[in-house]
């Protein structure tokens, strides 16, 4: 801890340093707000027309800041759905401006329809970073008409879907547990509903979303592969409004408005599936008795403008999947639920136009519970995670050449293993009494500085210094050959069991080759202290998160990336080529021969660890403006794993190794009423393990398997189409209809292969047949009505 304080003091010292070179470069900063509601507009593009190399994109609170040499400029601010703002500007001192944009809806039609939400691709130092414009996403086709941010990011190069219809994703050869998913700074441990078929993110409640798949800035930590940073929408500070949608399987409603005009606002959003409600009256007499399952989400946010310099946000999320299951003869009766909940309090204080501070307190929880009655025993199985987090983040721009970010993060983790308890009819209790909740302190200190070394060279230096300490109560067991605990060491409450430490340097640079092209390079090291291992084809709600501990070491990654970025025709088009090479250490898999089931031993004893490697090249081409917009992404990559304890120690392809991955996305605005959208994806078949030979034992067929993941399934490809019709406004209600068809040509994409066998060998009735399991193997149409009242 002492060294920790030392670093902080060193950093404070750093802040006082002035740059050695001083030229007449000034900072232009400010805020962009909606003229009617006063809401901040995140993601607006602020540029100087005469110097397209200078510019910025507004952050979550509508703020921007960038530097430019002295001169006469035209300040241009563009934001989707708003009238473009232009103003002459003489830059001879640092300026701070507040700009209000008028909605485009009330103005005479303009030729240019949609503005970029982002500065040109070659302008920022960030690599592998994508802002996702939510408005555009709403016109793209989606399954069941449910707009889903997690499905859309899978259309980006370097991001691979965890399977047909799945919200799970893998980034650049990393595991599903290596993605940091944040909702208003709260970690979402299981972002999926219905076995990950739908994400927990209700698009009506969301604001800006950023995916970072490469060089994570130092302020993010705890995961190796990517960050998906999602912000919840702020309520309107001036007017009340309601938005909603009625879809095939769920409906949603959001209401927002001022609590105190221009001072405080609220937004509340809810979504619930209603297949159960709709179908149950018809199924009452059937054996099943109805669809025993639903899920719902609630999002809420309160925002307060305390003063010019202080803002306070309180936000929360609560979502649940709930179901029950009864065997027809009543012998087995189960009910279950799982879900995330989170609460975030964030105070933003502006000391000056140079220094800003964010103080946050976050609570994040994930729970899974499955209870059932069988044979006179009432049994409950559960698992879960609880995080208590405190964060202080500073944003400091001492002058035009430096942009510093530094802060402290602390999280107290409580991770409950998959534990169970059964009570017999006469009150006797049996359970996983050797499994205990694990506790850990994770803390990190970081700083980064974006340094404009010359007009052409931007260097970003970052360092994250992270620690993880496992604390008691904890019992460390030693097992003999028969797997019985022979010895144990016990640690008391709060007692230190094991501490891990990692230096995580994050370095990147950008060199401008010309006004429209740049070269970027990045080097990233990262450490991860929480792990999730899945033995299934996708992650499941009952998968268990475990912390680094005396039993499991932290995962580590090193990534190198190099890219060329080009903006064409005033950023009408943008393109990039990125290559990356990533090495992963302490990757976890289940040991060979692990069969899941209730156990009285910590799951960590069932893990084996090894290393991984991934490398590839990603091409990206996007059209930003005009009636036709969209992008094309292609990834060529290879991802392998080497585990001493698996596959005889030989290298094998990771399950999500995908040689070719292609996606093409387009939306076309025909006129003011109709927008058409489409997406096409293609991917090399997934690696899987299949039987090569068979044998009989007790008269049944059993298998001798080939090498791990040595077989490839058929490639996957799919076309989805949509059409959005802007309805006629009725009184205060605007409405639109979205029609979509998922899997237009009914491709039966493989989800898994297996070899089915039935019959008895001794009766000569054995049949063997290879089977392909597909999910949504037919065109699935859907329609959604969206409305807004204000």
């Amino acid at each position: 801890m002492r060294s920790f304080i030392y670093y902080f003091i060193t950093l404070l010292g750093l802040l006082c340093l002035q740059p050695a070179v001083a030229q007449s470069v000034y900072t232009l900063s400010g805020r962009v707000l909606d003229a009617t509601s006063g809401e901040p507009l995140p993601g607006a593009a602020v540029v100087l027309k005469e110097r397209p190399a200078a510019g910025a994109i507004t952050d979550a609170s509508g703020k921007y800041s960038f530097a430019a040499p002295e001169g006469m400029y035209t300040l241009t601010i563009k934001y989707i759905g708003y009238k473009t703002f232009e103003q002459p500007l003489q830059l001879n001192q640092s300026l701070n401006l507040t700009t209000r944009l008028n909605s485009a809806a009330y103005q005479v039609q303009e030729v240019e329809v949609v503005a970029a939400r982002k500065p040109p691709i070659n302008e920022t130092a960030a690599m592998g970073q994508l802002e996702l414009p939510l408005e555009t996403l709403k016109t793209l086709p989606v399954i069941f008409g449910e707009v889903d941010i997690l499905k859309t990011i899978q259309l980006m190069p370097g991001v691979k879907s965890a399977g047909e219809g799945s919200t799970g994703f893998y980034v650049r050869g990393g595991g599903a547990d290596q993605n940091l998913v944040l909702l208003d700074k709260a970690t979402v441990y299981n972002p999926g509903h219905l076995f990950n078929f739908f994400s927990v993110f209700n698009s009506d409640a969301l604001d800006n979303t950023t995916l970072i798949k490469g060089n994570m800035p130092a302020r993010y930590g705890g995961r190796l592969s990517s960050v998906l940073d999602i912000g919840m929408k702020e309520g309107d500070f001036q007017n009340f409004r309601a938005d909603g949608g009625i879809g095939l399987i769920s409906s949603r409603l959001s209401v927002q408005g001022p609590l105190v005009e221009d001072k405080a606002s609220f937004i509340l959003s809810g979504r619930r599936t209603y297949v159960d409600v709709l179908l149950n009256p018809f199924l009452n007499n059937s054996e099943q008795g109805g669809v025993p399952y639903h899920f719902y989400d609630l999002n809420g946010k309160l925002s307060f403008i305390l003063s010019d310099k202080d803002r306070l946000h309180l936000s929360g999320y609560y979502g649940r999947d709930v179901g029950e299951f009864t065997l027809s003869d009543g012998r087995f009766d189960a009910d279950f639920f799982w879900g995330n909940s989170s609460a975030t309090a964030r105070w933003n204080h502006t000391f000056s136009n140079k220094l800003e501070m964010d103080v946050s307190g976050v609570l994040s929880k994930y729970d899974f519970e499955f209870g059932w009655d069988f044979g006179g025993f009432a049994t409950l199985a559960e698992t879960g995670v609880q995080d208590y987090t405190a964060m202080v983040d500073f944003n400091y721009k001492p002058n035009a050449r430096h942009h510093l970010q530094y802060g402290l993060h602390y999280t107290y983790h409580k991770l409950r293993p998959r534990s169970g308890e059964a009570e017999s009819a006469n009150g006797e209790i049996f359970g996983t009494d050797q499994l205990r909740t694990k506790y850990g302190h994770e803390y990190a200190f970081y700083f980064s500085d974006d340094i404009h070394l010359t007009d052409r060279l931007l260097l970003s230096l970052g360092l994250r210094n992270s620690y993880f300490t496992q604390v008691g109560p904890f019992t460390l067991y030693q097992f003999n050959d028969n797997q019985f605990a022979t010895d144990s060491a016990t640690y008391g409450r709060g007692e230190k069991v094991k501490t891990y430490h990692a230096w995580e340097p994050r370095v990147s640079m950008k060199y401008d080759l010309s006004k429209t092209a740049s070269l970027k390079a990045a080097y990233t090291q990262s450490a991860q202290y929480l792990h999730l291992v899945s033995n299934a084809y996708t992650t499941l709600p009952l998968d268990v998160w475990v912390p680094s501990s005396a039993l499991v070491e932290p995962q580590r990654a090193t990534q190198y990336a190099l890219g060329y970025f080009k903006s064409i025709k005033d950023n009408q088009y943008e393109g990039s080529v990125e290559v990356y090479y990533k090495e992963l250490e302490n990757q976890l898999e289940y040991r060979e021969g692990f069969a899941p089931g209730p156990s009285n031993r910590d799951l960590e004893y069932e893990f084996v660890s090894g290393s991984g490697r991934s490398y590839g090249v990603e091409l990206f081409l996007r059209k930003n403006y005009g009636n036709l917009q969209g992008w094309f992404g292609y990834t060529l990559s290879r991802t392998t794993r080497t585990f001493p304890g698996l596959n005889d120690g030989e290298l094998f392809p990771a399950r999500y190794d995908r040689r070719h991955d292609l996606s093409a996305v387009a939306s076309y605005k025909l006129n003011e009423r109709w927008i058409f959208g489409g997406s096409f994806v293609y991917g090399t078949g997934e690696a899987t393990t299949l039987p090569m030979r068979r044998y009989l034992l007790e008269g049944t067929v059993n298998y001798q398997y080939g090498d791990r993941n040595s077989f490839r399934m058929q490639p996957t490809h799919r076309l989805d189409l949509s059409a959005t019709l802007q309805g006629k406004k009725w009184k205060n209600i605007e409405n639109s209809w979205t029609f979509s068809i998922y899997n237009v040509y009914g491709r039966k994409n493989p989800y898994l292969y297996y070899i089915d066998n039935e019959g008895s060998a001794y009766e000569g009735s054995v049949k063997l047949q290879a089977k392909k399991v597909s999910i949504v193997p037919f065109p699935l149409p859907s329609v959604t009505l969206n409305f807004t009242w204000k």
């Binding site: 089931g597 008269g699 059993n702 001798q704 080939g706 001794y762 089977k771």
Partner: protein, 311 residues
């Protein structure tokens, strides 16, 4: 407890709009491995069935089955430093005693073992060795340069306390009864059981969904728990309405065998793999053999029999 995975699989199948279709895929043939299916129990000779694996989609016929038996292997069992050589015997040459033992241990109706059934069946056995409780038996198999080794123990007997039945939860199903057992677990952890049931004249069938138990959660306790009727594996469809139940008037014999841990792990993983074949929430290739250099199981059984006539 073992059922919750199955239930989740059912739910996911219900809710995801999945479908299955037959496909034709080319699979490399791979290298042949030898497979041991070996038993030794108290008061009975060791019996080893030695087969080889065949390409997964190769023909299924009595000939192929017959050809999969491995002949002329050198098979020895060693106990207390004394080795016994097991001799290959064809089913046509089985004594009545041996037929009896095989049919009991392997869940076969004696008819299958008759030469008239159409195919020959080969085992390695010896009449010089009978299993004893508490002893460890080492197996060694040598054949054409391949050597397989294994070791198993016949644990001490660990019988059931008592058996009884309760009515079906639905009063209308008054002909069906659920069997219950009471079991007193010894104080030390690490007792494993494999069970089989026999209904009237049927052979002994192992529990279908799970034939093995561990005392991991019930160490030292007395438990009352349902015992599902064993059924032959590989049925095209299990009758869910009848699954697990016995009928009024049945004479039920439970073959209750204490086994050691590697033996338990084999059946636990094999049944898990069979049950979840084709399930999207499981992984393949988890069967944990106790044979070094090959596949299958060399298993010791300490067996007790318990009979109840359901009235």
């Amino acid at each position: 407890m073992l059922k919750y995975k199955l239930i989740l699989a059912l739910i996911s199948a219900l809710l995801l709009l999945g479908c299955e279709e037959d496909i034709t895929i080319a699979i490399p043939e791979g290298d042949e491995q030898l497979v041991v299916e070996g038993h030794i129990e108290q008061q009975a000779p060791p019996i080893v069935i030695l087969t080889r694996t065949v390409p997964v989609f190769s023909d299924i016929s009595a000939e192929v089955l017959e050809q999969s038996f491995v002949h002329d292997a050198e098979v020895t069992v060693t106990v207390n430093n004394q080795s016994y050589t097991l001799k290959e015997t064809s089913s046509t040459a089985f004594t009545e005693d041996l037929k009896q033992v095989i049919s009991m241990q392997f869940g076969l109706s004696p008819g299958v073992l008759n030469s008239a059934s159409g195919f020959s069946f080969y085992v390695y056995t010896t009449d010089e060795l009978l299993g004893e409780v508490g002893k460890t038996y080492n197996l060694k198999v040598s054949h054409q340069g391949k050597t397989l080794t294994s070791s198993t123990t016949i644990p001490h007997l660990n019988p059931i306390d008592s058996l009884w039945t309760i009515p079906h939860p639905n009063p209308e199903e008054d002909s069906l009864r659920q069997l219950y057992y009471r079991y007193n677990d010894p104080d030390t952890l690490g007792n494993y059981i494999r069970y089989f049931t026999k209904r009237n004249q049927e052979p002994f069938y192992p529990g279908l969904l799970a034939s093995v138990f561990t005392d991991e959660f019930v160490n030292g306790a007395t438990i009352d728990y349902p015992l599902d009727r064993g059924e032959p594996k590989g049925q095209p469809e299990v009758n869910e309405d009848l699954y697990g139940y016995f009928g009024k008037g049945d004479t039920v014999t439970v073959r209750w065998a204490a086994i050691d841990r590697p033996h338990y792990s084999f059946w636990f993983t094999l049944e898990n793999e069979q049950l979840n074949n084709g399930s999207p929430i499981s992984s393949p290739n988890i069967t944990q053999s106790n044979i070094t250099g090959g596949l299958g199981i060399w298993g010791g059984y300490a067996v007790t029999y318990h009979t109840i006539i359901i009235d």
